[in-house]
Every structure is written in C-alpha cells, then in structure tokens.
Amino acid sequence: MKNVLKIALGILTSIGGFLDAGAIATSSEAGARYGFRLLWSLAFGTLCVVFLVEMAGRLAAVSNHTVADAMRERFGWRFFVFPLTAELIVDLFVIASEIGGVCLALQFVTGIAFRWWAFPVALLIWLFIWSGSFSFVEDSTAILGLVTIVFVVAVVKLHPDYHAIGAGFIPSMPPKDAPSYWFLAVSIIGAVISPYLLYFYSSGAVEDKWTEKDLNVNRGVSVIGMGFGSLVAMAVLVVAAQTLLPAGIGSDRYEQTPLMLSMVLGKTGFYLFAASVGIACFGAAVEASLSVAYLTAQSFGWTWGEDLPPKDDARFAMVYTVFPILAAAVTFSGIDPLKLTLFSMALTVVILPILLLPMIVLMNDEKFLKSHRNGWLSNAVGVVVVVVAIVLSVVAIPLELIGG
C-alpha cells in the first residue's frame, strides 16, 4: 500500500518535471507546422528519458550516491569539470526560458509585458525553495501540475483521427522544409531529455533515503510517471495539430499558442492554458534551480539538503538564490522567450553526449551498482541514446543555422 502511494506521488512529481517550457513550446510548434508527423520524436525522447531516470534512481537507491557524486568519484575532477560546466551553462538558459514561460502566462492574463515579471517570478521561485521542504516542493508542483491534464481533455473533445495519430509514431520524411523539420525533431528530444531532471531525481532519492527496497517504486515512477508526462506533451502536439494547423497559424511566437485551447474550450480554455504554462514552467524552474544547487554542492562536497534550514547549508542556499536571479536577468534582457527556449533545448542536445556517456559507464560499475548493474536492455537503450545524442549534437548546430 505504501508503495502504491509512493508511486502515485512520484508520478505526480514527474508530471511536474516532464512538462516544461521546452516541451510545451516544441510540441505546439511541431503540431502547428507538421501535424502529427513529429509524434515519433516525442515518443523516442520519452523512451530515452524513462530509461535514464530509472538509471539515476537505481544508482541513488543502490549506491547512496547521487549522479553528480558518483561521476566525480568515478571519473575524477579533471573529467568531471566538463559535464559540470556544460550543465551549469545550459541550466542557466533552461531556467531563463522556464521563467520566460511563467512571465508569458502572466502576460497573457494581465497584459503587462513579460519582461517585467522576470524578477518577481525569480523571487517567487526562490521563496518556494527557501521556505519549503523537499516533499513540499515535490508534492505542490506535482499537484498544481495536474492542471495540464486540460490538454488531454481538449484532445478528447476534438475527436481527432486516432489512426492518423498512430501513423505519427512512425518516423517519416517531412512534406516541406526538411532542415526545420529535423531541427524541431532534435529540439523535441532535447526538451524531453532534460539532464537537470537526472540530478534532481537522484538527489531526491538520496534525500528521501531510498534503499534497494525502493527499486520497484523507482521503476514504477519512471515508467508510468514519465509516460504520463509525455502523454500530456503529446496532447499538446495533437491539440496544436487540430486547431492551429487547420487555421493556418504557425507558431512563430508564444503569443499565438493560447488560441489552441480557447478555440476548443472557450474562455476556460484560455485561462487554463495560461495556468498550465505558468504552473508547468514554474515547477520546472523550481526543480531546475534546486538541481543546480544540488549539482554544485555535490561537486564540491558541501553540505546540502532541501530539508535543512538554509543557515545549515549556506553555500547550497546561496546557489539557488543566485541562479534564478541570473536567469531572470537573461529573461529580462528581452530575448523572445520562444527563441530562448528553442536555443536552450538545442544547447541541451549539444551537451547530452558528455553527460550520458559517463552515465552509461557508471551504470555498469560493480562498485556502485553491486548486483543491480544495467541489464542488456538498459545498456542497449543506453548505447542507442548515446549514439543518437552524439549524432544529434553534431547536427544540431548546422540545423540551427539553416532551419532555426
């Protein structure tokens, strides 16, 4: 019974963690421009992230090490400094784009230009982390995140052609404009595989004192939870394909996207869209900020813990105080949030190999995983993920120049 409860909570968490500015932006753009055609890349990204999250949780449960701890220990500082720096830079842009998402949701409702919201939102993010415990952060973002189910409701109301949707899961050549199609496919995968999630998830598992007994919970959370988060992202894509595409609205700016729900659900749809984007991005910003603090503290061996009073882990608290402010400055600079989001997703893809390759090596290390090392399936998926990540990171930059 306790396990069921744990899984339920974990699933809620992953909804909060999965759906963020990147997933919403890329899914709606994919739907608006290419119909159901890019569903396969969402599905592929989901498959990868399910396996990766499961690995991060298993590592934490068995070895009592977070991903960051284990990486530095196993590969040494001289190697670890690369993924560390890469991740911190990417996280800055990811948090900036999440803050941008929240700001835009506020702009939709109030009409006040998004950049003026950047610092108030950063303050709110900080306040949330500052005063909440880990389970508070986890549970509240999760429960609020349930509002995103509105996209699934919209899909049901739209009565889409489910055969056509099914066909979208088979990769196909684009009808036009191949570079932007592939660039979008790359961005979707980058949006779905958020590396900060791995650091966050494994730190949470250590903070919650997971043991080998929790391995089943871990499996359940990663499969059902990530699957559920992905379902919502797919719903966003389907709704966009059913509303924006036939209306001829390409999604060039975030401002065009709320129409996709108002066209289906009227005024409620408009407000629920704003709420969904605002809450999902807020949750993601909180998790990413916290994840940066975890990563830094664990890299240098500082005391860390979201459950400790901030005074007891001052350096850890300092990181999650400073980072959202820096990110808010990026948002405030006035870069179009959609461009910022797509840019940070592409950047994520570029650094994926350097994060994932060591992860797969780690998962095969007896010292950490004892008898719970990766099986052939996990390793096969892991190798595929790494190879795809390398290919993607090589093509992402030229694609951005041509198609983005």
């Binding site: 196993r74 590969f75 040494g76 500082w77 001289r78 190697f79 690369f82 350097i354 390759l357 060591p358 090596v361 095969n364 290390d365 007896e366 010292k367």
Partner: protein
C-alpha cells in the same frame, strides 16, 4: 619529498631505455595501523588526461575496460619507479623486467 598523486595521475612513464611503459593510473597501498604504505604503481595503456574530445572518449573506454579482466595494466613495484622528477616519472628497469601480474 612530497608528490601530489592527483598531478601524477595520467603522466606518461618511460622505462630506462626510453620506451613508453604507459600512464600512471592508480596507486596500490597497504594500510598498516595509522599509516598507508605505497606498494605498487599501476600503469595503464590509455590516457588519463582529458584535454580534447577524443581524449574524453579514449578515457571513458579505458575506464570501461579497467574494471574488466582484459584491462591492460602494468604493475610496477614501488621501488621500480623513479619519481625525483614527478613530471617525468621513469622506470628504473626495462618493461620486460617487470613482474607479470
């Protein structure tokens, strides 16, 4: 004289004839009471320095192999490595004089 292990790791090691013996990969010690005594230096054929992308990949491959039986490591007894110049460690014997592992 003090040698920093973290700086020694990855250094190229030559034998008396100037032939490449590998790179410093690890140090085996024995804990005796409150003291830890170095017994053997472990050399590996790959690179432990990570400077470029290809180094990173090579390094990861080495890490993968290092835990398996096929890892190509050379074990050097503590007195067979001359560390007076820690940047250029040298064997005091020929490679083929090293005891087989």
């Amino acid at each position: 004289m003090i040698v920093n292990l973290e700086l020694l790791l990855g250094r190229k090691v030559l034998d008396v004839n100037g032939e490449k013996a590998g790179r410093v990969f690890d140090v085996r010690c024995e804990q005796q009471g409150k003291e830890a005594i170095v017994r053997e230096w472990v050399l590996a054929a790959g690179s432990h320095r990570t400077r470029s992308v290809s180094d990173v990949v090579q390094f990861l491959l080495l890490q993968l192999r290092a835990r398996t039986e096929t890892a190509k490591v050379r074990v050097v007894p503590w007195d067979k490595l001359d560390l007076r110049d820690p940047r250029n460690p040298r064997l005091t014997c020929r490679i083929d004089e090293l005891p087989a592992e």
